[in-house]
Each structure stands twice: as C-alpha cells, then as structure tokens.
Amino acid sequence: MDDSSDPYLPYDGGGGDGIPLRELHKRGTHYTMTNGGNINSSTHLLDLLDEPIPGVGTYDDFHTIDWVREKCKDRERHRRINSKKKESAWEMTKSLYDAWSGWLVVTLTGLASGALAGLIDIAADWMTDLKEGICLSALWFNHEQCCWGSNETTFEERDKCPQWKTWAELIIGQAEGPGSYIMNYIMYIFWALSFAFLAVSLVKVFAPYACGSGIPEIKTILSGFIIRGYLGKWTLMIKTITLVLAVASGLSLGKEGPLVHVACCCGNIFSYLFPKYSTNEAKKREVLSAASAAGVSVAFGAPIGGVLFSLEEVSYYFPLKTLWRSFFAALVAAFVLRSINPFGNSRLVLFYVEYHTPWYLFELLPFILLGVFGGLWGAFFIRANIAWCRRRKSTKFGKYPVLEVIIVAAITAVIAFPNPYTRLNTSELIKELFTDCGPLESSSLCDYRNDMNASKIVDDIPDRPAGTGVYSAIWQLCLALIFKIIMTVFTFGIKVPSGLFIPSMAIGAIAGRIVGIAVEQLAYYHHDWFIFKEWCEVGADCITPGLYAMVGAAACLGGVTRMTVSLVVIVFELTGGLEYIVPLMAAVMTSKWVGDAFGREGIYEAHIRLNGYPFLDAKEEFTHTTLAADVMRPRRSDPPLAVLTQDNMTVEDIETLINETSYNGFPVIMSKESQRLVGFALRRDLTIAIESARKKQEGIVGSSRVCFAQHTPSLPAESPRPLKLRSILDMSPFTVTDHTPMEIVVDIFRKLGLRQCLVTHNGIVLGIITKKNILEHLEQLKQHVEPLAPPWHYNKKRYPPSYGPDGKPRPRLHNVQLKPIAEEREETEEEVHLLNSTTL
C-alpha cells in the first residue's frame, strides 16, 4: 500500500533541476537508514503525514504500462521488505514468502494449466466422437475408449466394436447402406452446428474476450498493454468450455493457441494471491511469460519447445530468472498432463512417431521444396486472412458474428463429411499422416501392392509400388488440402476460440505426405536415376512418406508464424524424431525465407497491426535518419504543449486542463518563464489524487494552489491551504534532447519499455514522444517506402488526436527552431486507433 505513495526512484539525470539539493540532504538523513539511501527518499518524509492515495500508480483499460516505473516500484518494495527482515520472525517469514512467491505462483499455474489441458483433451475427444455416435455401455467414453477391451476389432477395421453405436444404428436401426449414410450425415451436421452455435453464443453472452486464438493479444499484453478482463476468471472459464465445443464442431481450428491463453489466464488469476505480482504490472508479466510456456508445454506436450516459444514468440521482456521459471512451469504442467494421461497411451502427445529410418542427402531437395510450399502457404494465408478480417472489421458483415460462425460451421460440416480425411478429427488426421506404413498398418494410405516375401524382417519394409488404395487416398488428400486451405482462411478469426497451429500443420502434413508418396514412387520406378542409384536399390527402404508429412507440417507452421528454433524443437518433441532435426531445420528456414520475401510479419504481428495494438516489435530494425524533434508532439503548427507549473496553478486550473484535453500526462515545469523541467504527472494519478484530496482533506477548494515543489511557496494569509502533490510526481522522467536520432529513441523505447519520453533543449521542455507517436512514425515511414501496403483507413477515432488544441496556449520564451516536418500530416489522422487511449 505504502509503495504506491512514492513509486519513483531516479534512474537518470532528467528533471534534477527542480530538486533543491541542499534541502534534500538535510531532510533525507533519517530515512536513508531504512530505505537504501536513495535520494528520492526525501519525499517520503514529507508524505508520511499524508496517507497514501489508493489507486495512484495503476493503469486504465487500454493503456500502456511504464516498465521503468514498475521495475522501480518493485525494487523499492523489495528493499523495504529486506530492511524489515531482521525485525521479527513474522517479518522474516513474510520476506521468505515473498522470495518464494515467484516459484509458488508458477507452480500453481503449471498445475492448473496441466489439469485444464487434460480436461480439454478428454472432453474434446469425447465430443468429437459424439458427432458420429455414442458408447452405449458407458456414455462418457469416446470411440477408442469404448472399444478399449473389445475383442471384436479386426485388423482392417480397428475401431469397430458392438458397444459403439453410430447414430444411424440407434435411430433407424441399420449400420450399412445409403439410408444409414444419410442419417449419419445429417447427425454429423446437426451436432457440428449445435456445438458451433453453443460455442459462439456462450462467447457472446459471457465473455467476448474468449474468442480468437489470443496469442496476438497476449503478445501485446506482455509488451506492456492493459486489456482489462482479458485474462480474467470468466474469460478462462468460457474459453475452456467453448474451446472444447469449437474443436468438437469440426471447424478447421486447433486448441493449441487458445491453450496458451488459458494458461495465461491461470497465471494472471494466481498472481492475485501474491501481492508481489498483483500490484506490479511488470512482475505480473514475468508470470505470464512463464504461463505461456506452460500453455505450449501442455498444448503440444513439448516442455522445452514451450519455453523457447515463450522466448521467441510471445515474450517481450525475458530475463534469465523468467527463463528458469518458465522452464519449471512447463515441467510442472507437462507432468500433470502426463499423469492425467488424456490419450490413454502414456504419452503427452497424440502424434508420436516411432520410426527411425534414416534419411538421405538427396532428400533435402524435396524437403526444401516443402519449405517453399510452407512459405508460400504462410504468405498466402496471412494476406488472405488479414484481408478477410479487415473486411469483417470494416464492413457491416462484422455485425453478425453468430451467423458467420454458423455458416462457416455448416459449410465445413457439409463438405467435410464425405471425405474420410476431413471427417476425421484434425489431430487424428495428422497422426495418421505422420505414421509410416509398416506391416501393421491397414489404412488405405498404406495400401501398397505387396509381393508377400515372408522372409523379411518386420522393421525394414522396402519401397513398394502403390496400390489402388494409395491412389484414391492421394486423390482424397488433394481435395482435403484444398478444402483445408480455403476453410482455414475463413475460420481463423471467427468469434469462437480458434488456434491455427493444428490446421496449418494438417495442411503441411497433407502436402508433405503427397510429396512423400510421389518421391517414393519415383524412386521405385526410376531407381536407376543417378540420385537414387546410390541409396535406393531395389528392395531398399529409402523413402519414408511419414517423414515428409512431418517436415511439411513444420514448414507450413513456420510459414504462418515465422518461428524457427521453437518450432523445430516443438516438432521434434512432438514426434520424438530426434534424428530428423536437420530436415526440419532446412524446411523451416526455407519457409521463413520464402515467407519473408512476401511480407516480413507473421500472422500474429499482422493481427496486432490490424487491430492497432501498441506493440513495438523488437525484431524490426529502424533504419531511418529522422531526429527526435521530427517525431515529438506538438508539431510545429500545433498549439504548444499542455504543461503544469510546479507551484502556481490552482486545483481549478488543473481540472480544466484535464477536462479540456485528452492527454494522459503532463510535464511539470518550474514556471512559465524558465520552462525548465521538474517532472511528469500522469492524468490518472492527478485525477485520483485531486478527487481524494477534495474528499478527505479539509480546506481544499477550487482556488487552492497545487504544489509539486519540495516546499510550499509563501502564500497570502487569506488564501486556502495548498494541495501538495509531490507524491504523484515522477521526478525522473526519461528525457532526450531534440537532436537525438530516432534510431536511439526507438531503441530506448524497446529496451526499457518506456511509455513516454520528454524532449528537451538546454533543459527546456520542447515536447513529448509517446510509444504511439513512435508507432505512427514507423508506420508513416513504412508507407513511404512501400506505398502498396494497405492503409489503415478503417479505424474510427474515439478521441481527438494527440496534437489537438489544448485550450491553454502559452507563450514560448525560448523557442527553438524546429526542422520543417516533411511528412503529410493528414495521413496520421487515419492511423489513429486504439493507440489513441495511450495518447499523452
């Protein structure tokens, strides 16, 4: 509680002008003993009389956090706990609890996300099979579990047993024939539609934030943005429940992305149990990083991949401490999931491949081709999906989310049922495509013409000519590929929980399997070609189509998400194919290159940009030569900056300033004459502080002076009591001079996670640069370079622009000649969206 009264510590020389140093030493002496001896502690002494104002130091919805401020706050809190530690056993326990709370919270997060993932897996499997039929002997079993102990299964039809009844058998009493096919078809569509409808209406009624994959938003949140309720209890519950429904409805979506969101919700909820994390937004993000690792860990059964995913894709600030916590969270989550054993095979993942056949050098060529395919698919998917989502965002069509889901589900179900490969649950499909055709397999994919040579050993089946089954399977797979590609574009972004890992992998696996079979047949019929001659003699087993499917899956996923290291690790953990790292790496790298040639951003960045979240990507380079003065607000033609003076404004003045402007913070200067910087006060803190002062303190009226200075100025005797607001003043705002290159400013913003930065010249405040200004500037430069990029015309403004009139013009005594601004100003008008609320 007390930490909110003075969260600021000096971290640079900025604003030192306003602190009279002589006074400070005199006043600060008492407190330095317990407070680590920092200069700022002097303000504590003054504020000890005032009670801390609740709410100061928190953030509004859709605002950007200030990492530097949050980290300082945490250090301050830590110091306080450490200094009290020796006082009593109770304080000692408290400090121990505090030290351990980081590990405790990730343990709890891991436990919860593992358990929820188990629940989702089991329920989704059951519900998916509910579309086909039901287990009469035990209603809660899915098809496979229903036939668990059955002895009636045959080699050809492995999942047939009398306990499992299809709907046709139950309703019209016959298992075969066109009548039962139609009945099953109708029931399939019925269940798919009702699951989809339930999912979307639950999302709409209870938690609209539960829709989508959630990874773009989590990326944005982790980079320091506040979306209230996005990681809340209701979102968690609805996302868990509707995820099962969405997966079961047969839509072309996966549960992996949403599981990351679910895990992050767990992390957020558990962090409320620990004051260290609940009161500090920066610390909370460390927990969320670990939680996202746990999410991927349970989604794919890939703990290391999860940690790397968190590092490569989602996290913004990832110190080593967080790495270890992520590692631990991923471990705990995977352990819990493993002990729940949702698939009944004592493995974490559904698709575990068991072959260890070697691969040959010439096969790198088809692998790279698959990589090219993956990159092309990724580029196509991102363009098409973004175009579709933009349409949804900007036209009337977006007003009917329920109808959209129903239509997509209906089309999916109607087309998917006739084709056995699309009727299958997508993860089952991937599993089947990954599997190699051993002697034990009986699916039509493995229908090769056998020359029953009984003397061979089981493991080493030579390449064989494909039979009719394989050709018809390829035909069906091609149709399935086209279907999946089209449906995934329209599915990702509808208002149900939807991830795209699994559909992308399925597309890649289908393409890979087709290529694999083609190469295999090529090698069989042309084994005298020079590339095959060395490795593929007659009767040798040299091509494994399942491996091609695996490589294709990795390539397609890489093309869409543009991940590299984490993706390869996830895929090899997923399949257990340790010897296939090089093919995977080759394909993933190629797909990233090809994809990057068409557009540098992955699907998540593209969605972030589409929604206009204030996300400053650390991966992009800034290569322009602009200066801070070109970017700062106010622009040359704008009214001057809205500022506060440190001791001669009244409460009323400040209130009018707040009401007339929409800025989220105001620089505080010494006086109108000198214009030297004292500090920075946030709008929210000002509002809260004034409101609470008016309520609680006696004698604060509209004409009271507001004093940000160390000591109150001498006032006439009859004037009302001054209001001291030094406690909410940030006395060490980050400053740069007007000639700082933007390259450096962008770097500072990225690395320190600043929210705003003041621009000074000889200690005089000239203007301000916010994260939003930087993003606008980047976008502007991008549009100059690539004029073909679609403009953001569709975002409607909610607030006046940042550089609008503030109604408080003030004379500039020391005006500095700014460079003329080259860019058109009207462009920026259209780019203002959500970021507006981060306006200062």
Partner: protein
C-alpha cells in the same frame, strides 16, 4: 512410484473438484494389445487381453495361436504388443464435470437472455427503480455519503451485494461486447 503418486494426486484434484471420491484404478483399465500382420495365408488379426505388463508379449496374449508350432516364432516376431493403461474414473469424472459446467452455463445463459427480460417487463416499475439506483451508483462509485450509506445497507443484505456484483460484471461484459463486436477495436 512417483508417477503413481502424481496420478493419485491429480485424480484427487479432479475428484475434489467434483466432490467425488476417486477410487484406485479399475482392473478394466489395462490392456495388452497385439497387432499381428498377415502371415502366409493367415490374415492380420488384433488380440486384446487384460494382463499385467510383464506378461504383455505375443506368447501370452495371442491365443489361440493360429499357426502350427514351428511357425510360432516367425509369427510372433511380426506381432507388435503394446501395454496401455488408462483411467476410466478420470475420464468419467472429467466428462461429468465438463457437462455439468456446460449445463449450468447454458441454464444461466437462457435465464439471462430469455427469462430475465420477461421478469423485468413484468415487474417494470420496481425494476426501473433498481436500475436507476444502480446507474447512479455506477457512474460515481465512491462519490458521496449517500452511496456509502447504500453500501452499508447492502452489506447487511447479501443478496443486494450479489446483485451489485452481478450488475458490475454485466456492465463489464457489455463493454467487452461493444469493443469486440461493435467497435471492432480488439480481437477482430
């Protein structure tokens, strides 16, 4: 040993959620499944038996043996036997938990969308009073003494408090709905 302990733990966790006592695993929950590919003129076959892990091999499970004595070894070499376990209690409990939560949510949804508006319409005057009262409270949550009084009154009445929380939650959801479905500023 540790894995078994963890299994029990997770089971207990799940069971505690449902308020059911989960018993140790069912004897039906293990199986040894042998898949034998076609051999000579015998077609492929799947054998399934409930045996312990150490007995899970072709000789114990494949019964009756389809091939004569000398061929048994060759036949068995091709068969693949896998020992698998599951926990039917976990599955049962999970499905029951899932369905009951889903059912409750659906009921609540039906109540919120269909029943409540009707009730409100029927008790129009009264509900309007409550509504306007709450509207004031929501606009200025900590504004004046009147509100403090209202709060202390509501503290005495648990129902009011629940109602207040529910109204606040509804407003939040409404806000979310606006930003997702109408303004399209997030998650589009």
């Amino acid at each position: 040993m540790a894995a078994r302990g963890a299994r029990l733990c997770s089971l207990l966790l799940l069971a505690a959620l449902a308020g059911l006592g989960a018993e140790a695993k069912n004897s039906e929950d293990v199986r040894c499944k042998c898949i034998c590919p076609p051999y000579k003129d015998h077609s492929g076959h799947i054998y399934n038996k409930n045996v312990s892990q150490k007995d899970c091999d072709c000789l114990h499970v494949v019964e009756p043996m389809p091939v004569p004595g000398p061929d048994v070894e060759a036949y068995c070499l091709r068969c693949e036997c896998k020992y698998e376990e599951r926990s039917s209690v976990t599955i049962k409990v999970t499905i029951i938990i899932y369905l009951s939560i889903l059912g409750l949510l659906l009921l609540y949804m039906v109540y919120l969308t269909l029943v409540e508006p009707i009730l409100k319409r029927r008790l129009f005057g009264h509900s309007q009073l409550i509504q306007s009262d709450e509207d004031i409270g929501d606009q200025q949550p900590f504004a004046n003494a009147h509100d403090v009084l209202a709060r202390s009154r509501s503290r005495a009445n648990v129902l009011n408090k629940v109602e207040y929380a529910q109204q606040r939650w509804k407003l939040q959801v409404q806000e979310q709905r606006k930003s997702v479905f109408d303004r399209h500023v997030v998650l589009s």
